[in-house]
C-alpha cells in the first residue's frame, strides 16, 4: 500500500466535492479496492469513503420496481430481498464470505465490473437501471466490456433499480480457487419476456444470451433450451477451463437456473 489521505463525507454532495480532485477515488466496501492497494497496484492519493453516507444505503420497493442504494452491502441485499426477489438474494448470499458480504456493496461491484462479478448478470437479465449522481443508465448501455463501464470520472452509483421479476434464479459455477463465477447465469422471468444474463464466460464481459431469452420467452421450461448453445469463440480460456468448457457451462447453468427459478 502507498500512503493516501482519506475523507469520510456523510452526504453525497460532500462526496462529489471530494471526488472532484483528480487523484481521488471512491471507496465503497473496499473488498476489491483495498486488496488492489495492498498489492500496490493502484495509488490514489485520496480515498473518499462512501460507507458513512446514509442516502446511498437501503432498499425500497415501489410497485414492481426495487431500488437498492449503491452503498448497500451484499449482506443486506441477501437478507432483505429474500422474500420479494429471491434470485437476487441468492446471488448476494453467495458472494465471498460473511466478511466480504458485510463490507462489499452493489455499487462497488457494478462500478468495478469485473468480468466475473455476479451482479452484472442480474442487472443485464432484469434490464436494471444504474442510477448515478447525474443520470440514469440502462444496463445494456452501462456495461462496456471487462472492467469498463459508462461511468465518468468521479461519478457515483447512487442506486440500482430492478424491475422485480415474477420468478428468477442465479446459478453460479464456481471457479475452484477464487469462487467467483467461472460461469454465472441469471434468469429472470417477466410477464412479457425472459432475461438471461451471463457473467464470467465472455472476453467481452457480461452479456445477454438473447437466443435463450427468445426461446424461454415462448416457453419458460428447460426443454425450450434444447439444441441451443453458445459458441466457445470469444469465451475466456484460462487454467480453470477452456472457452469450450465455459460455453458448455453457459447452457448447463441456464437450464439449471430455469429449473431453480422461483
Amino acid at each position: 500500500m502507498y500512503s493516501f489521505d482519506i475523507e469520510r463525507p456523510t452526504t453525497l454532495a460532500d462526496a462529489l466535492a471530494a471526488l472532484a480532485d483528480d487523484e481521488a477515488q471512491a471507496l465503497g466496501g473496499g473488498q476489491t479496492l483495498i486488496p488492489t492497494l495492498k498489492q500496490r497496484l493502484a495509488s490514489p492519493s485520496k480515498l473518499v469513503c462512501l460507507s458513512g453516507i446514509e442516502e446511498l444505503k437501503g432498499i425500497s420497493r415501489d410497485g414492481d420496481t426495487l431500488t437498492i442504494g449503491g452503498g448497500t452491502t451484499h449482506g443486506t441485499i441477501a437478507r432483505e430481498t429474500a422474500e420479494g426477489f429471491p434470485g437476487l438474494a441468492g446471488l448476494a448470499s453467495k458472494i465471498g464470505d460473511p466478511a466480504v458480504r458485510n463490507r462489499g456493496t452493489i455499487g462497488g461491484s457494478l462500478a468495478n465490473n469485473d468480468p466475473s462479478a455476479c451482479y452484472p448478470a442480474a442487472a443485464m437479465a432484469c434490464g436494471a437501471t444504474i442510477v448515478t449522481n447525474s443520470r440514469e443508465i440502462a444496463a445494456d448501455d452501462y456495461f462496456q466490456g471487462m472492467f469498463a463501464t459508462a461511468l465518468e470520472e468521479g461519478e457515483i452509483i447512487t442506486a440500482v433499480k430492478f424491475p422485480v421479476p415474477e420468478s428468477s434464479a442465479y446459478i453460479k459455477f464456481e471457479q475452484p480457487a477464487s469462487r467467483f463465477p467461472l460461469v454465472g447465469v441469471f434468469v429472470a422471468k417477466y410477464a412479457d419476456r425472459v432475461g438471461v444474463g451471463v457473467t464470467g464466460a465472455s472476453e467481452e464481459g457480461v452479456f445477454r444470451w438473447t437466443e435463450a431469452e427468445a426461446a424461454l420467452g415462448g416457453n419458460f421450461a428447460e426443454s425450450a433450451l434444447e439444441g441451443l448453445s453458445v459458441s466457445g469463440d470469444g469465451m475466456i480460456g484460462d487454467l480453470h477451463g477452456t472457452g469450450a468448457y465455459r460455453a458448455h457451462l453457459v447452457g448447463v447453468m441456464t437450464r439449471r437456473a430455469v429449473a431453480a427459478a422461483r
Binding site: 500500500m1 498489492q39 475452484p176 480457487a177 477464487s178 487454467l239 480453470h240 477451463g241 468448457y245 457451462l249
Partner: protein, 792 residues
C-alpha cells in the same frame, strides 16, 4: 474402557489452549527492541541478466538503514544442499551455487535481488521501488523435457546442461527388468504427472535476525521445523558463525508440511544484516511472496511400466521420471525423487525386478523440495495408478490383483534396497473393504445413476518409509547429515520433569503425546511433564521434524533418556529402602521392594537426588538429568489401504467425495485422537492435490497460480462431512526395532489419498458407457468434463 492417560489415551491437546485462544507465540509475535524491517526486491522475470543495479537514490530515501545487493554477499557462502546424489554413471550431481541475493543473473520469478532495510516496512517498500534495476530478459526454460533438449537455454551458464543428475536404481537390476518386461504376458504402461504444489502453511515464513554487539552473539528467530539444522547449515556454510555464537529459535510454528525444513535466503539475510546494521532485522513473508519463494512440492512427470505373467503376478516395474529441481537445489531436493521415492517402488508387492530412472532437471522456477510425504506419494501414486490400469486392461478385480501380489512374509527385503520389518497388508485391505462396504457399492452406484451422476469406488494400498532414518545408511546414500534424534530429560527436585527434545512440534501435538509416554513409563500424571523444543539454546542437537519421524526417532530418544533416569532413580530408591536394586519395581509413581510392602514415592526419590543427605554419593552423582541420542537401525514402514467413493456430474465434471475410509497400520499408537487428526489432515491435503491444487507456470516462467485467486486450496466444504470419513488404525503390527513399536503417522494421509481419489474417479468414468483411460491431477471439473467428452 479406553485409557484416560498414558500410551493409548486420547488426551486432549494441551497446546490447543494457546493456539485456539490467540495466545500462541509465533515468530511474527517476536519483536526485538529497535528492530528494522527488510523488504526484498524480487525478480519479476524468470530468467535474466542483471545489467544495472543502482541503489543510490533509494538509499537516500527516508528511513533507509542500508540496501544490500548481491555484491554485499560476494564473500559470503551460498545456501548449501544437504544431500548429494550420485548418478548412474557414478558421477556426483551438478550443484550450482545458490546465492543469498542474486549474483549477476536471476533464475526464477521471486528470486531476491536486493534487500532494503529501513525503520519501517513501508519505507523499505518505498525505497525498493526507487532502486534503479535493469534486467536483460533471457528465454526461460520451464518444461522439463524441453530443458533437456540439445541447445536448450541453460539455467546455469557454467553447467554443461540442465540435467542435475540421471539416477538409475538399482542399476544392476536394469538388465533383469528389461528381460522380465520382454518376456511378460502383459505390460501396462502409464504416463502421468504428479502436479506441482505450493505447501501454503497457514503461517507464512518469518525471520528475525538479532545481533548482540557486546557478546558477539547472533540469534535468529525463524519459522523452522528444525532449528538445529538451520543453525548448522547457516552457521557453518553460509555465514561462518560458530554454533556457540549462534542461537536459532523456532517458537510456535503455524504448520510446515516440509516447506519449513529448508534453509532459506531470507533467514541468512536477516542474521547477516543484523550484524552488518547492528540492529535487529525482521522479515515477514506476504502470502504473495510465499507463493514465489517457499520451496514447492512434487512436480514429477513419470512413465511407468508394470509387467505381469500369465497368472497376473507382477514380474517387473520400470519407471522413468523427470523431477523438477527448480532453479537451485533446495536443502534436501535431490533426495526426494531418489532415495525417498525409488526405494518405495516395491510398494506392498513382491515384484521381483524393479528399475527406477530419475532425471532431475533445472528449470527457471522456484526450487522444489520435500512436501508432506516427499517422494513416497509420488511412488505410491504411479504404482497404484498403473495397477488399477492393469486390472482394467486385464478385466480382473483390482482388489484381487493387489492381494495376489502382496508381500506376506516379514522381514522382507525388496529389490530396491529396503527391508520391511513388519506389516500385514491383507489385514488392512480386509478392514478397508469392510469399512467401505464394497458389497453395497453396486446399489449406491445405481442410486447415483438415477440422479444422472456417475459413481466410482477407488482403492489404493501404500507403504512408506518413515522414522527417517539410520544415519549410517543415509550417509552412504549421500546425506550430508546424521538423522538421529535427541532428548534430555531433566527431573526437578519435586518430581516434575521437563523433556528437551530435538523434535520440533508445529501442530503435530508433541507437547501432549510425548508426556503420555513418560507418564506410562514412570506412572506420574501427564501434567507433571513439560516438553521444551524449538530453541537451540536449551535443547540438545536435534535433527527436527519431517518424514513422520518424531515419535519413532525423537520419542525413542526420549524413552532412552527416561530409561537412564529410571535406572538411576531405582538405585536411589534401593538405597532409601535399604534393598537390592534388582528388587526395586517402579509402578504408578511408587518404587517398591518386590515381595514386601516397603515403598517410596517418585517425588521423594527425586527430592533425595537434589537434597542428597541420605544418598549413595559414593556410587552415583546427585541430580537427575539424562540425555540420549537415538539413531534408528532401520526406517519404519507404516502401510495402509484406503478407499474412496466419488460422484461425478458428467454435465459439469464436478467430482464430490461421498465417502472416504482409511485403514492404517501405524504399529502402536500413543494418542489415537492425535493420530486420527493427522490422518484427517493428510487426507485433506491429498484430496487437495487430487482435485484442486495446481501450481502452474506459463512458458515464460511466470507463475499463473500466484495467489488464492488461482491456486485452489481445499476448504472445509470441498471435503466430505466428517460422518463420511472413517479413519481406522486398529491393524497394528508394531515396529520391531524401536522401543515404542511405533511407525509414525504424519504423512500417511497425504501419501495414500491422491491415488485413491483418482482411481475412484476413473472407476466412475468407466461406468455408464464412458471409457476414460487416464486423467491427471488435479481432476478439476474442466479436466473431468474434457476427459469424458474427448473419450466419447
Amino acid at each position: 474402557m479406553p485409557k484416560d492417560h498414558g500410551i493409548g489415551a486420547s488426551t486432549k491437546r494441551r497446546e490447543d489452549v494457546r493456539f485456539l485462544t490467540g495466545a500462541g507465540n509465533y515468530t511474527d509475535d517476536i519483536n526485538v527492541h529497535g528492530q528494522a524491517y527488510v523488504h526484498f526486491l524480487r525478480s519479476d522475470v524468470a530468467h535474466g541478466r542483471i545489467t544495472n543495479i543502482d541503489t543510490a537514490a533509494a538509499a537516500a530515501m527516508p528511513g533507509v538503514v542500508r540496501i544490500f545487493t548481491g555484491a554485499d554477499f560476494e564473500g559470503v557462502g551460498g545456501l548449501p544442499c544437504g544431500w548429494q546424489v550420485t548418478d548412474k554413471h557414478g558421477e556426483v550431481m551438478k550443484e550450482p551455487p545458490h546465492p543469498v541475493l542474486a549474483q549477476g543473473k536471476v533464475r526464477h520469478v521471486g528470486e531476491p535481488i536486493a534487500a532494503v532495510v529501513a525503520d519501517t516496512l513501508q519505507q523499505a517498500r518505498d525505497a525498493a521501488d526507487a532502486i534503479d534495476l535493469d534486467i536483460e530478459e533471457l528465454p526461460a526454460v520451464v518444461n522439463m523435457k524441453a530443458a533437456l533438449e540439445e541447445g536448450a537455454t541453460k539455467v546455469h551458464d557454467d553447467l554443461s546442461d540442465n540435467l542435475c543428475y540421471d539416477w538409475g536404481f538399482v542399476e544392476e537390476n536394469k538388465g533383469a527388468v528389461e528381460e522380465a518386461i520382454a518376456n511378460a504376458a502383459h505390460v501396462t504402461t502409464l504416463e502421468l504427472v504428479n502436479n506441482r504444489l505450493v505447501a501454503n502453511p497457514m503461517e507464512p515464513r518469518v525471520a528475525v535476525g538479532d545481533f548482540n554487539r557486546a557478546t558477539g552473539d547472533s540469534t535468529l528467530y525463524t519459522t523452522s521445523q528444525n532449528p538445529h539444522v538451520i543453525r548448522l547449515l547457516m552457521g557453518a556454510f553460509v555465514l561462518g558463525i560458530p554454533e556457540h555464537k549462534l542461537r536459532v529459535v523456532a517458537p510456535d510454528v503455524g504448520g510446515g508440511f516440509g516447506t519449513k525444513i529448508f534453509h532459506y535466503a531470507e533467514e541468512a539475510f536477516c542474521t547477516f544484516a543484523a550484524k552488518a546494521c547492528n540492529r535487529a532485522v525482521k522479515w515477514t513473508s506476504t502470502r504473495s511472496e510465499a507463493f514465489m519463494s517457499d520451496a514447492h512440492g512434487r512436480d514429477h512427470v513419470t512413465k511407468i511400466e508394470l509387467a505381469l505373467d500369465a497368472d497376473n503376478n507382477f514380474t517387473a516395474v520400470r519407471t522413468e521420471t523427470y523431477a523438477n529441481m527448480g532453479a537451485y537445489l533446495s536443502t534436501f531436493a535431490p533426495s526426494v525423487p531418489t532415495w525417498l521415492h525409488g526405494t518405495l517402488m516395491a510398494g506392498n508387492y513382491k515384484t521381483p525386478n524393479i528399475y527406477v530412472n530419475v532425471k532431475a532437471v533445472f528449470t527457471n522456477t522456484v526450487p522444489v523440495d520435500a512436501y508432506r510425504g516427499a517422494g513416497r506419494p509420488e511412488a505410491t501414486y504411479q504404482l497404484e495408478r498403473v495397477i488399477d490400469k492393469a486390472a482394467r486392461e486385464l478385466g480382473v478385480d483390482p482388489v484381487e490383483l493387489r492381494r495376489q501380489n502382496f508381500i506376506t512374509e516379514f522381514p522382507y527385503a525388496t529389490p530396491v534396497a529396503v527391508e520391511y520389518d513388519t506389516g500385514d497388508y491383507h489385514a488392512t485391505m480386509d478392514k478397508m473393504l469392510e469399512l467401505i462396504d464394497r458389497d453395497g457399492f453396486a446399489a449406491r452406484r445405481a442410486e447415483s445413476e438415477k440422479k444422472g451422476k456417475l459413481r466410482g469406488l477407488g482403492i489404493n494400498c501404500f507403504i512408506e518409509a518413515c522414522g527417517i532414518a539410520p544415519s549410517n545408511l543415509v550417509g552412504q546414500l549421500g546425506a550430508r547429515a546424521g538423522l538421529y534424534e535427541s532428548a534430555t530429560v531433566r527431573v526437578n527436585a519435586t518430581g516434575g520433569l521437563v523433556v528437551m527434545t530435538g523434535s520440533h512440534s508445529h501442530g503435530q501435538g508433541h507437547e501432549t503425546a510425548f508426556p503420555q509416554v513418560i507418564s506410562e513409563m514412570i506412572g506420574i500424571p501427564e501434567d507433571q511433564v513439560e516438553i521444551v523444543h524449538g530453541d537451540t539454546a536449551n535443547t540438545p542437537m536435534g535433527m527436527g521434524t519431517y518424514g513422520s519421524r518424531s515419535i519413532a526417532v525423537g520419542g525413542s530418544a526420549m524413552v532412552r533418556a527416561a530409561e537412564k533416569i529410571i535406572a538411576k532413580t531405582k538405585k536411589i530408591a534401593a538405597h532409601l529402602l535399604e534393598a537390592a536394586e534388582a528388587d526395586i519395581e517402579l509402578k504408578d509413581g511408587q518404587f517398591s521392594v518386590a515381595g514386601t510392602d516397603k515403598s517410596v514415592a517418585w517425588g521423594d526419590v527425586c527430592l533425595a537426588a537434589y537434597v542428597p543427605h541420605n544418598y549413595p554419593l559414593e556410587d552415583i552423582e546427585p541430580g537427575l538429568e539424562e540425555t540420549a541420542f537415538y539413531d534408528p537401525s532401520n526406517f519404519t514402514y507404516p502401510a495402509g489401504a484406503y478407499a474412496c467413493e466419488v460422484e461425478v456430474d458428467p454435465e459439469t465434471g464436478v467430482t464430490t467425495i461421498e465417502k472416504f475410509v482409511s485403514a492404517d497400520d501405524f504399529g502402536n499408537v500413543v494418542n489415537p485422537m492425535i493420530v486420527e487428526g493427522q490422518v484427517h489432515g493428510g487426507i485433506a491435503q491429498g484430496i487437495g492435490q487430487a482435485l484442486l491444487e495446481n501450481c502452474v507456470y506459463d512458458e515464460n516462467g511466470q507463475l499463473l497460480s500466484a495467489s488464492y485467486m488461482d491456486y485452489a486450496m481445499p476448504r472445509a466444504d470441498d471435503l466430505p462431512e466428517m460422518a463420511a470419513y472413517t479413519v481406522d488404525h486398529s491393524c497394528q503390527t508394531p515396529c520391531t526395532h524401536n522401543p515404542l513399536g511405533v511407525k509414525g503417522c504424519g504423512e500417511a494421509g497425504a501419501i495414500g489419498s491422491p491415488p485413491t481419489v483418482i482411481n475412484a474417479i476413473l472407476d466412475a468414468l468407466n461406468s455408464g458407457g464412458h471409457k476414460v483411460d487416464h486423467i491427471d491431477m488435479p481432476a478439476s471439473p474442466s479436466r473431468v468434463w474434457a476427459a469424458i467428452n474427448n473419450a466419447s
